[in-house]
Each structure stands twice: as C-alpha cells, then as structure tokens.
Amino acid sequence: MGENNETPFDMDSSSFDADKYLERLLKDCSLKQIMDTEAAVVKDTQTLHSDMQTLVYENYNKFISATDTIRKMKDDFKQMEVDVNLLMTKMQTITSFSEQITGTLQGTRSQLCRLSEKHSLLKRLQFLSTLPAKLKALIEDQNYAQAVQDYLHAQKVFAQYGRQPSFDGIKRDCDAIMADLKERLRRDFQMAGNTAQSLTEIGELLLQLDEKTSDLASEMLTCAAKRLHEQIIMLQDQTERDMIEFVDMGIEGFLNDLALVVTSYFDMFVAKHYEHERDDFQENALYELNIFLNQNIDKYLVLVQDRVESDIGYGDTQIMLRALDRLHRRLQAMRNICRGLDVKRSTVDIIIGAAHQLCDAHAKNLKDHFADSLSAVRLALVSAKTDVSTGSSLNDLITNLYVTMMDKIKEVLNNLLVFLRTDWSFNIKAEHKGALCVDGIRENLLIGFLRHIAKVMCGFSDTSSFSPPNLLLVLSKTCLELEQQGVHVLIALVDDLYEIDSENSATLTHETEICAEMRETAQSLLDAYVRLQGSNISQMLRKSVETRDWLNCLEPRSVRAVMKRVVEELGSIETVVASLYDTTGNAGFRTTASSDSSRKTYFSNFTGTNSKAQYRSNWSNYTPSQLESSYVSNIHRLFSERVDIFTSVEFSKVSIVMGIIKIGLKTLLECVRLRTFSKYGLQQIQVDAHYLQMNLWRFVSDENLVNYLLDEILGSAVHRCLESVLMEPNAVEIICERG
C-alpha cells in the first residue's frame, strides 16, 4: 500500500501536496463543493489550533511540577545517604556478632550430630530387642512371612554385631523363636490338610530360613505324598458318584494338587541352583520328583482302574469313556507341563484294560444269555411235551435261539465299537496292546463265545446230562445253522467293524476252523440224539423181552404192544426230525425193496422163492434138530457183505431215523440171544419181526439193512429156541395186518 496510498491528496499524510490538492479540488469539484471544503478546512484549522494551545499549557505545568519533585528528591537522597551509612556500620556489628555466635555454637552442633546418630542406633537396638516379642506376635498372628522377613533383616545385624555378648542374648532368643517357628512351620508343612498352595508357601519360608534344601525337598515330597494319599482315600469313598463326577473330582483335587506340587517343587528345587548343595542335587531332585510323580499317578490310576473295573459292565460305557477321555486329556496336558518328567503309566492302558474287561464282561454276559436261552429252550421243550411238540414249534425254537443269539452278539460287537470312536483323544488301535485288544474282541469275545457255544452244546451230547432228546435235536440244528451261516456272518461283521484283516493273519482263527468245530458239535449232538432215542427204544424192547416168560407163552395171536409202541415212537421221531431236515434230497435214494408195491415180499424170502437171492434170509430151511444152522448162518455171513451197523449219522431225516432203528434192533437182537424160547415164543418173535419189517421200511432208505437185522433177530431166536418151528408166513401176515 504505502506510497500508493499516500496520495498527495490526503491532508493527514506526510506527502500532502497542497498545490496538487488544490488543483485537483478545483478541477474536480463544483464551486459549491469547494466552498464547503474551504469552510471545513477553516474549521479544522481552528480546532487544531486551540488543541495545540491547550497541550502546550499542560506541558508547561508538568514541567514545573517535575522540577519541584527533583528538588525534593535531592534533599531526600542526602538524608538517605546518612541512613545507609548508619546501616553499614550496624551490619558490620551484626557480622561480628554472628561470627562470634557461630564460634560458640560449633561444639554443640557436632554433639547434636552424634546424638542423632545414637538415636537411630538406639532405634535399631530397640528393634532388635523387641524383635523376639514382635516375632512372637507375628507368629501368633500367623503372619509368618513378615516374621521371616524381620528375622532375616535382623540376621544381617546379628551378622555384624553378633559377637557382642549383649546381642548374643537377643540373637539366642530370636534363634529360639525362629527355631520354634521353624518347628511350627515344619509341623504345618507336615500337617495333613494343607492345600498344596500353602505347602508351597511354607516351603518357600522354610527355604528362606536356611532349611537344608535336600531335606526339605524330600520332606516336601513325603508331605505332599501324604496329602495326596488323603485325596486318594477321599476319592476312594466316592463310590456313589458316577464316573464323570469321579474323574472330575480327581482332576480338580488330586491332579491339580499334584501338578501344583510338582511345579512348585520343580521351581523350588530343580530350576534354582543352590550353592551349598552338592552338584548333582538338581539331578537328584529331578529324579526324586520323577519317582514321586510316577508313584502318585500310578496310585491314582490304580484307583481309577479299580473304579473302572468295578464299574465296567454295569454303567453306561459311553459315560465312562467320556470320563476317561477327559482324564486322558488332562494327563496329556500334565505331561506337557511337567517337561523333563516322564509319566510312565498311561490312561490308554486303563482304557485298554477297561476294553478287555468289558469284553470279558460281555463275554460273560453272552454266556449267561446263552445259558438263559438254553434253559428257556429246555423249558419250552419240557412244557411243550404235554401238547405233543410238533416240528414247527421246534423250528420256532431254533430260529428263536439262533436269532436272539445272533442279535445279542451283534449288539455286543456294536457296543464295543464305542472304544474306537474317532472323537476320543486316545486311539486304542495305535498302541500294540490296543491292537491286541481289538484282536481280542474278535478272538476272545466272538470266537471264544462261538467256541463256548460249541463246548456247552457238546456238553449236552454227554449222555450223563439227561437232556431231553428234542433239545439235542434243536441244538444240533442250531449248530448246523451257525456253521452254514451264522459263523460267517458274525466273523465278517467283526472283521468289517473293527477292520481286521483275518484272511491274511497267521494268529487269528480262521472261519473254517470254527465252522468245523460247529459241524463237529452238530454231529456229536446228532449222534447223541440218535443214541438217546435209540436207547429209549432199546429200553422198551429190552424190558419187553426180559420180562416175558418166553418158554410158557401161548401161541401168538397179535403183535406185542411194545412193537406197536416202538413203531409209533419212531413215527413221532420221524415227524419231528422231518420238520427240521428236509427229505427232498433223499426221496429218490430209497433202495429197490421199498419201491416194491408189495410189502409181502419179505416172507417170500423165507420160502426161498424170491428173486433177491443175494439176500440171506432163508429160514425156511431150518428144522428144529438142524445142527448145521450155525454153519448156515456163518456161510451166509461169508457171502454177504458185512453190514456196518454203527456209523455216524448224516444230517438227514432218513439217516437219523435209521440210526435209531439200528440201535433198537441191535438191542432186540442182544436181548433175544439172552433168552430161551419155546415154539410159541419163537413164533411171537417172528410175528413181531414181521410187524417191524412191515412198518419200518417207510422210515429208511436202505431196507436191506433193516431186513438184515430182523433176520439176525429171527435167526438168533431160532438158535435160542428149544423147538424151532416157525409159523406159517400167511398166518403171520394175517396177524400183523390185523394189528
């Protein structure tokens, strides 16, 4: 702005140019305006003028007054100078005085210093002298930490002045008190009922009190062990809690304490270095700790194991496994905390043990169940006897027994699968023992059970067990079904569920082994059945032959009742057996004789007119006096094939019934040989034999065998007859047909 603004036209500025201003004014403005401007300027000038006058006047007055003032000041200063001089002199006297005083006070001050020093010393001495009391008080208040701190504080002093006799007393007092304290701490340390937390604290205090580290270390462990033992005992009593609660209690109480003890021990003794201990102290401490830890974990795990063992098979396995899983996790975590320590025992062992035990329990369960269902079958058979046990009911029993057994086994197998659930933190199969355990499920549980079945069933085949014959039949059939189907299904199931490769394993039992065993059992049961039924029939026949007076009987008029009963019995056996074993396969196998429509051909054998000459039954040749009869029979023997009477029966109706018939007829033969017959006795036998011959053909496939045995019977009767005169075949036939 500056110069540009400092126009020469502004009257107030310094660059005002009156001429230019006038020139411009004249140039620019009208006259009127000029006149006005002139008036204004005049007026301004006048005002300014008067202002100037006033100002001058005022300044003058002020100057006058100022002069006056200066004059007055001149006078004052003179007086002041006097005063100052006076002050100076006074000050000089003060200084001298002050110097004087300082000189006099010098001695006192050093004394004061000494005094204050002494004061503080006295204070400390007082602390020392009251220390015993204070310590006592602190101890009474159980403020041990403070007491120890104080004592340690005092300790330094004692270290300094300990030699003086006066302190010696105090020191002794203090030591005594502290010894007391130590004692008390130690008692506390040892006293059961302290938490691990307080234990650590006390441990720390004792350490500060210069307790021997190694002693303390071992003591700590023993005390902790005691305490943990109490915990264990407490846990032992918690029988009514369920497994999860039990494990939780263990984790919260025992394991936490243990972890605390271990960590504090570790911090106190292992991690720190103590100069006054032997070099290997830390190693030893670690070693001790390890032992301690393992001992306690062992104890606890033993407890858990006991618990598991007592619980398994009763409670819910799932819950127990969950609890064990939790425990496993906790121990795993603990293992991480206690680095440098190795916990030998593992929960997995317990779990495997539990699995084993559960397997055993299940096995027992299965066996019990099996025994139950067996007795149920038995009962059903016994009660069914009243209303004639028909084949269908037997079939029902078999399917029932079979199906429930299969279901039960499947259920158990599925039940045990819980051990292998993938969300558990443990993996049984990973461990060798565990893998064995899984194999054990297959081997001990399934195979073992199947073997057990075979064994128990085999036990029934022992004739001394007096089992009802139909039971044998039912069991035999069940075994057969197991062999043909069940074993395969179950083994495939277990292999599938547990991913066992049994085909390529050398140690695992192969399916065929079990099948063979089952088949063997079925066979022996069937044999036993045949034996039992055979001996039932035998018994009837034997009694009938033994009790009759064959020498004094009348001419036969009818078939003896026992023969009819035998045939009836065989008939009912056949219906039962037929319902279980289909005969379709054997229908066409019946040997020639039966296809003969005429049942009468048998007797033509006796008359020697029959075309079946190879068959030796030519009793018509005999005369009572014929001595050669035995030769004849022997010669017949030579030319006929040896008939093997006793062979194992097959799983078919015909074979079973035939087996029974063979036993019965053989018995009849033996009984006949033990008796002596009159003519009519022989004829009665003849009638009976013919009746049997007429009726038995329909049960058997090979009629020749029956005929052979009947011939033997009749032959023997002829031998044993005093007067061997046979009846007319036609008469025999008529009697038999009459029934």
Binding site: T463, S464, F466, R531, S535, S538, Q539, R542, E546, T547, L551, N552, L627, S630, Y631, S633, N634, R637, R642, I645, F646, I663, K666, T667, L669, E670, R673, T676, S678, H719, R720, C721, L722
Partner: protein, 382 residues
Amino acid sequence: MDENGLIYGLELQARALTPQYGECNEVRFFIATNSLKPTNQVHLLQYNEEQGNIQSKIFEHALGEVWKLNSCPNDARLLASVYNVQNGAQVLTQAALLTLPQNLDSDENEQIKSEYIPWAQVEKLDTGRLGERVKTIEFHPSQEQTMGCVIDNKLAIMQRAESSTRVVAEVSSTGSSTKHMSPFTTGKWSHHHQGHQFLALHDCSVRAYDVRDVQHCAWSIEEAHGQLVRDVDCNPNKQCHLATGGDDGYLKVWDCRMPKAPVFARSDHSHWVWSVRFNTFHDQLILSSSSDCKVLLTCAGSVSSEAEGTSASGLESTISAGMDDRRKLFLDGLLQTFDQHEDSVYCVEWSNVDPWIFASLSYDGRVIISKVPKQYKYQIIF
C-alpha cells in the same frame, strides 16, 4: 498174527471165555459154548507164540449150555461153569465145578484127540435152595476154598471145605408195584480191601458188599451207567480203582472213594459194552468188548497206577520220572480198534501170563488171540 490176530473157530455159539489163571507159564484160555443143541463143549486153548498157532483140548460140557466160565487162580485144574438146565417148562441156571485131569499133556490124550477128554471130577453146586438163576461163580483171588456166588437177587459166599453157604446180601425190589424184581447182573471179588469185598452189579449201580457181615454194603456207585452195568473189573495195581462197562456204551473208570463221578469215561462203543478188563501189568491199557462187534483197546494213562504222582512205590516213581516226556505223548483215549469179529463180542480177556496178549470171543464162536500193537508196546515199555 501180529496185526490181525490168530483165529480159532468154534462150531457153536459161545459166550464164556476165561484165562487159566492157575497156569503161569503157558498162554491158555478156556472157552465154552452156549448152544441149546446137545453137547456143549469146553475148549482149552493154548497159544504157542513160536509156532504162531493154537492148540486146543476139547472137553464135553454135558450139563448144558455154558453162560459163564471162571478159572480158579489157585488151582490150575479147577473151573467153575454156569449153565442152563431145562426143567420142564422152566429153564434153571446152575453151576458146577469142573476139574481137569491131572496128566493133561500126556500122550494117551493125544491118541484120542477126536474124542472129548473126560473131566477128572464134576461137582454140581447145590444152588437150588438159593435161587433159580446163577449169574456167576467167582473164585476168591487168594482163599482157595472160598467162592462168591451171585444168584438171582442174592449174593452167597461158599466155603468148599466146610461145604457151607451163607447169603451175605440180597436186594429186594425197590418199587412196591414192580412185579419183576431186578436181580444182580453179575459180580466179582474186589482185589482190594484184603479180599473182604465183593462187587456186585445191580441194574445201573455197582455195590461192594463186605462179605464178613450180612447185608453190609461197604460202598456203592449208584447210577454208574445210564443203563444196565454189564461188567466190572478192578485195577489190580491201584487201590480203589475199577472199570465198568454198560449198556449205554460207556467205559468208565471209577475211584470207589468218589462214587459221584467217574475219573475216566469213554464212549467209543456204539452198543452195549459186555466186558471190560484192565491189563494186569500195565493197567493204563483197558480192553472192552461190545455188541457192536468191536474190541477196543483204550489207554487210561491219567488214572493208571503208572500215572505221574500217583505211583505207589518209590522205585516206580524214579523210573517214571525219566519217562515222563514220552508218556505225555501217550494220551488218554482210544488206541486201537480190533474189528475182525463179525458178531457181538461178549468176552475179552488178557492173558494172565503174557501182558501183551489177549483173547476175544464173539457169539458166532470165533476166538481171536491178538497182541497189543508193537508201537504201543514199545511206548509203554521204554
């Protein structure tokens, strides 16, 4: 003959076989026929091992068909036979003592080979008072004059010297309504208990009677078999052990102190077991014969006197100690089946002279003299 046995055939049916117990050098057996036809015979068979043949001497048994034959252990010439006699409409079973002639081996007998050799003496026993059916006459193992006689439901002890007979036991029908009273099946002297006990078989049970007293049953095994007990034999070397065979086809070995259950049982036979015999020397070997036409040689090593720990004498135990391993392999069970018979085998007997030889007799009159197979023999000896 080693494997198949030597066969001797009779023309008639036969049920009676016994070794000649009084003979101690030759292997000899008596057999007797059981036929209603006249002229039953008793054959004395002598087995000649070197020549491998059987020589026989034939006697007539004119009294009737022989059901049971026993030889006296103290008198080689004495035999007891039990035979049937027909008495009108009744058949009675009686017993007689037969004495062999003194000079059996002399030449004059050879000359009349075709004829029957006559008996030196035939003494019918007076059993008519006791009952109708004699089951067996058993010579006392040590007292020559004493015989046990099982007759119907009675057991009588006969003293030949005093010709006295005394009934020591009698079973009566148990059920009130049973019309038919079941008699004793047969009996045998017990080798144990100083010969004071007589084992009698009754239906399914075995009973031991103390013969010094009347009706004194020392012990009994009830329900020894599921059905009739056919035969019993004492283990000659082991106290209290006896074997039984029954109609249920079982062969059982019992300890009479434990009558509840047998100590050994096998059911290899498929029909009645008619006869069981312990081997006199090696009592783990048991022979049994059955109406399934088979003779079975069974090993019951676990209950034999040679079994470990139970051997009676110290000497034996020291010997057996070294043999344990081998014996272990010699398991209990069926050793051998002899199936050359074609009819029911009612009798089987070990030779009393050679422990490896035995004879079996089937109804068709076939006697087979067999040996224990060599492999078993060696296993037992070594």
